[in-house]
């Protein structure tokens, strides 16, 4: 009997604010330890938190982008536990009254195609600091630069049925968050973190199996790998008659396995209660609607619109909308007069290669459109245009560059006839065979003309001249 895998994900995303969640310290990655700290984020006696309005705005924006219901009143709570990276001994989070609930994210599942994954909730919280175990021999140091950085925690429904679907969810989530300007979503810098919950059950079973939670996942690929390994482990346990126990596990990327945390690390009673230092977070409906109206076009809508407006395939719209910048660039090229399908092909090949390497677009959209027109009207060949593209810089006119590189196609009948005559003279055997009825040799002869012209002859012009000479 086969097994079904059930996955739910918790995503912690750092909100792209200039300052921390409850104080004015800079929210920057990679500074010297304990330089972006103040009495508030150090938890000094008498210091008090004040919410960062921009963090609230970004949280609301993220929730709106995920189609959540924003709650007019939400409440900050204290999550209590002792750890040296937690200066106050509690984390300010949201518990039973989160900022938003009940959204969905559309993803493309490798197994099931387009589908929606439910978003259970989105809440705001502050980050903890960081323990440095390798800075001083035999000692652990505490860096509190990260303490108090604003986070949104986004919890999904257990709607995913495979590790690959989980990865597709993360890819789609990152896309939405980047589109909406919520976060830079860098897993390397810790601005996007994932905890995965996984269980298995017999196909057809409606009750959920016992789940385990996997932490310390530092890439989307590792999420998928860790889930595969944990799924396999659970199935093995169940097939050999055992029971899965609910534990929290830490993924070790080096060995590709998750190990259970010690029960002491995992068994917290967080004793949540409403944070008395902060009044309930009350959002005016008018303001929420303004934020909704200000949302940029999101990946899904963009995909649909690109398909409808430009007649592109699902594959093309998927690639073009993978990043806002790519889609924007594509639309500018089309706006400058290029044929949409041709423009899409250019953007998905030459343009993307360069952009992925350098992070910038080397050629202005208007110049690329002009280059595409040169190909369309036969001024340069596609081959030649790709050479021109690599040489284009700044304000360069593609036609001028093509001319400089000697890539303008020759259509002058006199010049073409001269090359044709040279080829006819140089290849007497092939000419005789052609005239004897071996018509497939025409291609070879055209190629010879192109070669003799060093690629400059217009292939469309060469053929009629050649035929005329061969048959005349």
């Amino acid at each position: 009997m086969s097994w079904e895998t059930v996955v739910g994900l918790e995503v912690h995303v750092q909100l792209a604010t200039r300052s921390k969640m409850f104080c004015g310290c800079a929210a920057i990655f990679g500074e010297e330890p304990n330089t972006n700290v103040c009495p508030v984020c150090l938890g000094l006696p008498g210091a008090l938190p004040v919410p960062n309005a921009e963090a609230v705005r970004l949280g609301v924006r993220a929730a709106l982008a995920l189609g959540c219901t924003i709650h007019g009143t939400s409440i900050f709570s204290r999550k209590n536990y002792f750890y040296p990276d937690l200066p106050k001994g509690y984390q300010i989070s949201q518990f039973d009254r989160p900022l938003a609930t009940g959204g969905q994210l559309r993803i493309v599942s490798p197994e099931r195609g387009e589908m929606a994954v439910g978003i259970t909730r989105l809440h705001l919280e502050e980050d903890a600091g960081k323990l440095l175990h390798d800075r001083f021999p035999g000692m652990t140091a505490v860096d509190l630069n990260r303490a108090g950085i604003p986070l949104a925690e986004i919890v999904s429904e257990p709607d995913m049925r495979s590790p690959a679907e989980a990865r597709a969810y993360l890819t789609a989530m990152k896309q939405v968050l980047l589109y909406a300007g919520i976060s830079d979503c860098s897993m390397e810098q810790g601005s996007l973190r994932v905890d995965a919950n996984v269980s298995v059950r017999r196909v057809g079973e409606t009750e959920l199996g016992t789940k385990t939670e996997i932490k310390n996942l530092n890439s989307f690929a590792n999420v998928e790998r860790a889930l595969e390994a944990e799924r396999d482990r659970q199935i093995q346990v169940l097939e050999s008659g055992g029971r899965v126990t609910q534990v929290t596990m830490l993924y070790d990327a080096a060995v590709g396995q998750a190990r259970p945390m010690r029960s002491k690390e995992a068994s917290h009673d967080y004793r949540y209660f409403p944070e008395p230092d902060l009044p309930p977070l009350v959002l005016a409906p008018v303001w929420v609607e303004q934020e909704r109206a200000a949302l940029p076009e999101l990946p899904d809508a963009k995909r649909v619109r690109l398909g409808q407006s430009y007649g592109l395939s699902d594959y093309d719209t998927g690639v073009l909308s993978s990043e806002v910048a790519l889609a924007d660039y594509f639309e500018l090229v089309v706006g400058a007069g290029a044929d949409p399908k041709t423009a899409a092909n250019w953007v998905m090949s030459e343009v993307m290669t360069g952009y992925n390497e350098t992070g910038v677009f080397a050629v202005q959209p208007g110049r690329l459109a002009a280059l595409i027109r040169l190909v369309a009207d036969g001024t340069v060949s596609l081959q030649a245009a790709k050479k021109v593209y690599l040489e284009l810089q700044g304000e360069d006119d593609p036609r001028v560059v093509a001319k400089r590189l000697g890539l303008i196609q020759v259509r002058d009948p006199g010049a073409l006839e001269a090359w044709v005559d040279e080829v006819i003279a140089a290849c007497p055997a092939e000419v005789t065979r052609f005239r004897g009825g071996e018509e497939k040799l025409l291609g070879f002869l055209v190629g010879q003309v192109m070669k003799r012209s060093q690629g400059k002859a217009d292939p469309k012009g060469v053929q009629p001249v050649l035929l005329r000479r061969l048959r005349g």
Binding site: L44, P45, A47, N80, R271, Y272, L278
Partner: protein, 459 residues
């Protein structure tokens, strides 16, 4: 008198009063320096008025210990908003005063640095937890002092010591720099030799502070205008605050005060606040719950003494720092608070206490909505008790706050003013006002202050 002369005099008085053990930190040099700064300011609102400050309010230049070993020697790198405002108004921060550890207590016997003596009878307690501030004002060392209230910690010692104690509406005064105990209850509060002294300080320190998210966006508490009588005011006497077993001296003093209110044109009516009898148990769930989180930061990792034995693990560091750094009353409350918030007990304790808190507040709202302008009650059920009398019986100690702590739960303003003496010891009467009617309450306290011989024996 020049500010320098004031500073010299208050230094001499502090020296002379040192037997009370009311102060934790002060120095003549610091006072002299402050006086120079104030003189350089020219004219100022408080013109060198010496104000003593409870040692759970952060000050620059002197330690802020909260009367606890766990913060012994700790100096705050920032100053409380109330202190900044006092300095800007030309006050002298005369001394940091002794208190029950982390403001947890009703007698100032729970300080790690020894108990504070009652200025009239050294065998007795000055009340608490702001006992050091109360004793300094009562002893005539300073005209005013800051304390803090979570459950009556200024009004109760004000009553025991025969001075004025004002607890403002929650949110009227910034808590930024007040070391947290029960954040939803904590209020910086004021002692004064007179209502006017207390009002001047309250006016100076109140008003909106962007550093405290619970601070109200309102102007400072206005000064009372010296109302002559109670005419046009309806004063409610809540029956639950005049129980049959009330100390006879306290009863005699309050009877005399009520008669005075009537004589001065007040309309006195009986009212009922039926849920107030649950105020002490409710308070002793909510305040410890919040305290258990607020005091979690004292873990020996970042500041404060951390002297673990060698080779302990993380839990050992926590256990030793906190086990050795906190006194028994603080430990008791952290344990209580942790218990009432734990999974499985939350609804039965903390959840229920929150609902009771709402019911207690609703009682007050109902009475005030029904045409009562102010309430009048005794501040405490007895006069100052003897040191050691209640230290072995926490519940008896907690009941010393039975008439004061409902006000904190409801977030209302309350004031205690001396209304007579019983067997030589001061008796305090309390006015309670509707939310944000702090000034009306101070007017009423002023009328009583001017019309009652407060240092006279009532029997």
């Amino acid at each position: 008198m020049s500010v320098r002369e004031i500073a010299t005099e208050v230094g001499q008085k502090l020296e002379a009063a040192s037997g009370l053990n009311a102060t934790l930190h002060w120095s003549a040099g610091d006072l002299r320096h402050q006086a120079e700064v104030v003189e350089a300011m020219g004219r100022s609102a408080l013109g060198g008025m010496p104000v003593a400050v409870k040692d759970n309010i952060a000050t620059l230049g002197t330690p802020t210990t909260c009367g606890s070993r766990i913060l012994e020697g700790y100096e705050s790198p920032f100053e409380a908003t109330v202190i900044r405002r006092l300095r800007e108004a030309g006050a002298l921060i005369a001394a940091k005063t002794n208190l029950d550890e982390f403001a947890m207590g009703s007698s100032t016997e729970h300080s790690a640095f020894g108990r504070v003596l009652h200025p009239i009878d050294p065998a007795r307690v000055p009340g608490g937890s702001s006992g050091g501030s109360a004793a300094l004002v009562a002893a005539g060392v300073v005209p005013a002092a800051l304390g803090s209230e979570t459950g009556g910690s200024v009004r109760q010692p004000a009553s025991f010591c025969g001075v004025v104690g004002v607890k403002p509406s929650y949110g009227a005064v910034s808590r930024y720099g007040l070391v947290a105990f029960g954040s939803s209850l904590d209020c910086v509060s004021v002692f004064g030799r007179t209502v006017d002294d207390a009002a001047r300080v309250l006016h100076t320190i109140s008003g909106h502070d962007p550093l405290d998210a619970t601070s109200l966006d309102r102007p400072p508490v206005a000064m009372p205008m010296g109302r002559k009588n109670f005419s046009g005011l309806t004063i409610g006497l809540p029956e639950e605050y005049f129980p049959s077993d009330l100390d006879s001296g306290v009863r005699a003093a309050t009877d005399r005060a009520v008669a005075a209110i009537r004589d001065l044109g007040g309309k006195v009516v009986p009212v009922s606040l039926p849920h107030s009898r649950f105020a002490v148990p409710t308070y002793y769930i909510i305040a410890p719950a919040e305290a258990s989180a607020n005091l979690a930061r004292y873990d020996g990792v970042r500041y404060g003494p951390s002297r673990p034995d060698t080779a302990v693990d993380l839990r050992g560091l926590y256990r030793q720092t906190r086990g050795r750094g906190f006194g028994p009353e603080v430990r008791r409350r952290i344990l209580t608070g942790t218990y009432v918030l734990s999974s499985g007990y939350y609804d039965a304790y903390y959840g229920k206490a929150q609902r009771m808190r709402s019911a207690i507040a609703a009682d007050f709202q109902g009475v005030f909505a029904g045409g009562v302008d102010l309430l009048f009650t005794p501040t405490t059920p007895s006069t100052a008790f003897k040191a050691g009398e209640k230290t072995d019986d926490p519940v008896a100690m907690y009941l010393a706050d039975i008439f004061v702590c409902a006000v904190n739960l409801a977030g209302l303003p309350g004031v205690s003013v001396a209304i007579g003496r019983s067997e030589g010891l001061p008796v305090g009467g309390q006015f309670i006002a509707p939310y944000l009617e702090d000034t009306l309450m101070l007017e009423a306290a002023g009328v009583l202050e001017r019309n009652l011989p407060a240092t006279e024996e009532v029997r």
